[in-house]
Symmetry: C2
Subunit: 420 residues, 2 copies
């Protein structure tokens, strides 16, 4: 159980049901504050709650956004009174044609491309912004390779905050433009993502009022991913799925979806039925998959080389916690080649009309591989998390996708082209 | 009143409340059928209904998609039992920062970028697919320059239908890829959009089972745009806005939003309060704006030359009906330069974190111009329709949007760049 009771006198922040920060390694508790590392052991801090009673009716009566779950998030009770992009409430698509193509009974696709900047990052940034405001930060910031940059720049614009977004200068022009258009301070850095990330750590330490959402606000930020799990369960009619496949970058999302399912069960919002969590990586950056396959508890960093850039974190912070969650629920972790990633994107698009970014291709292709090797039960129900949009990773399609034919302007030419 | 009573024995199709097709020019009625031009005068046909009683509670109890309004659309009563992309239920954003920037009291942005393929075209294609199935078509098709191509290819994929999508071969690579990925028959044609459109007319006449959504299924297809108006009114708390600004391409959308407001008033779903409809065009393709300004009833075709390609229809089919609706409601039509379009995109992005395509830039910039010239009342409430996504028209931003600075990987360099 993640809920704990800490005297509320230890904090002066209104972060809803959040009561303390708790070290995921040593369990040491500290009052709610703009902290992210344990003072005792330097382990990562996580939000601990005292939820009280949470009822389905209250959630159902809430807004059509992640704020319907505000009673389960580290955000102020008046979160809706401040401007926010209000993400969430994305589609859960009954994917019968995909299920048939995969040879399984039932598949649902959680399509997070419908979020304001078309990725799940709007969820975590929405929570980070709300918490950061309460914690006294004044600037929204991040290091990023794309989706997070878009979400931070958009959320800051909406809120009227300054933003500082750091990205590698080699980033695709589309991601640079979609960040720059929101008008914050976008700085390209001559270096790779690791260089940018180190810069963010350094700047966060120097600037008390800069909220680097995925660095010094990370404990709050990461909780936003729980809403993916909450929505899936509510949209299934208040029940947990049998199986869920989640892409792994830092690993945070997978652990938070698992946490969401556990919380819903513990709070009696759903029956605590057994579920299996499966992790998906690209082979060109598969340190967690490698650890899982070799039965290890530690994750050995790698140098990423994959078209699935949004998953290309070679040293995933939450890798060990991913291994815990997957093993505890009897799931598995698998990885797929870049070729399979593109085929995964195409399979989802052709069967369901959903255009996913490369990370979505990883999820679909991994599900396919897990089915073919008998680890996903074809008779059980499976949810696939599609967390980002194909329009942002068009380059990955290369010349493998294109028109059927180019013809002169005559009906006969069109018909001949269709016959070929 | 658009509702009429026609004996239901005259048709064998279940298209919900639709009862007949009615000529917008001569009023001649014909049974529901796969027709689009009046047999008497060749005028455009429109769906006529017998709505019966429609209650707020029934709509509110419906699905979170356009199908909550199925009792007001020409679709089978069992529309939800067939696969469809189920668009709609997009955000209505309270845009206080944009309102402040524009110097007006209250602005709402209807953000249709949240649809499955990120434009309002999913609405019209959703209705077209549902009607086409009932009318016996087997192939979903269209001529398009982008958004419609995406929506048709995705909807056909989801439904398991064949699709034939015709586009000019000069189309941007992004729009070609996003159509091709869904796996239908995408044919690029050496010619401009007018050539492609003529081809579609010819092919539709030759193939009885091909539903060219915007040609031979147009009467049904166009009704899908009513859902934009319905949603705005419902999301405002079951009331009509004072003013609404709508971009004009063929002009169909503007007339259907007006129709939606009238229907809601006539059915007693809202108080029939007065509202003004404003039209927005790019100066490089502004035939309806020109006709409005010169007080004419006819629209003289032009050769389009604007970055707002999704609005670049030089001979807008619904131009005269747009003039009627705008004049009847005491609105106005205005046009803006490509430079203003880009500024409109940037203004919306910087103030609200919403990234619109060029058509959205036209809407925002036109609203600004209408405010500055006193035609939009700054004390009244204004709704802006943002119908497509900035990720599809990145080229339009050119070099006017970019990073603040490029720096070496040092914190000092970042801080210096922020000082400049």
């Amino acid at each position: 159980m993640t809920a704990v009771s800490v005297p509320s006198a230890t904090t002066s922040f209104d972060l809803g049901p959040a009561r303390a920060l708790s070290c995921r390694e040593c369990g040491h508790q500290t009052p709610l504050a703009p902290e992210y590392a344990c003072l005792e052991c330097f382990g990562p801090l996580e939000v601990a709650y005292d939820f009280g009673r949470v009822r389905r009716e209250d959630i159902e009566a809430g807004p059509r956004s992640i704020w319907r779950y505000r009673g389960l998030l580290p955000v102020p009770s008046n979160v809706e009174s401040h401007p926010n992009t209000n993400p969430g409430a994305t589609r859960l698509v009954e994917a019968d044609r995909l299920a048939k193509a995969l040879g399984v009974r039932k598949v649902w696709v959680k399509d997070d491309t419908g979020n304001p900047t078309h990725s799940f990052k709007d969820r975590v940034v929405g929570v980070a912004l709300a918490a950061a405001r309460e914690l006294g930060f004044k600037v929204l910031a991040c290091p990023s390779t794309g989706n997070l940059a878009n979400a931070v720049a958009a959320a800051a614009a909406r809120a009227g905050w300054q933003s500082v977004v750091l990205v590698p200068s080699s980033l695709e022009q589309a991601k640079i433009l979609m960040t720059a258009v929101y008008g914050g301070n976008l700085i390209t850095v001559d270096g790779n993502y690791d260089d940018v990330n180190r810069l963010a750590q350094e700047l966060a330490a120097e600037h008390e009022d800069w909220a680097f959402v995925n660095v010094n606000v990370r404990p709050y930020y990461a909780e936003g991913s729980k809403t993916l799990g909450y929505e899936v369960a509510e949209q299934l009619g208040w029940r947990l799925p049998d199986q869920i496949v989640v892409p792994i970058a830092s690993g945070s999302q997978l652990t938070k979806v698992d946490k969401a399912f556990r919380e819903f069960g513990e709070l009696g919002l759903v029956d605590a039925t057994p579920y299996k969590v499966f992790g998906a990586q690209a082979t060109g950056c598969s340190p967690v998959s490698a650890a899982f396959k070799s039965g290890q508890d530690v994750v050995t960093p790698v140098r990423p080389d994959t078209i699935a850039r949004s998953l290309a974190i070679g040293a995933p912070a939450d890798g060990p916690y991913v291994l815990d969650a997957v093993r505890r629920t009897n799931g598995a972790i698998e990885d797929v080649t870049d070729e399979e990633v593109v085929e995964g994107i195409r399979l989802l698009a052709r069967t369901e009309g959903i255009f996913a970014e490369t990370a979505g291709g990883v999820t679909v292709a991994t599900a396919k591989k897990l089915i073919e090797t008998g680890r996903l039960d074809p008779d059980a129900e499976t949810v696939l998390l599609i967390t980002g949009d194909g329009l942002k990773t068009l380059d990955a399609l290369g010349d493998r996708v294109g028109p059927r034919a180019n013809v002169p302007p005559s009906a006969e030419a069109v018909l001949n082209a269709l016959k070929d």
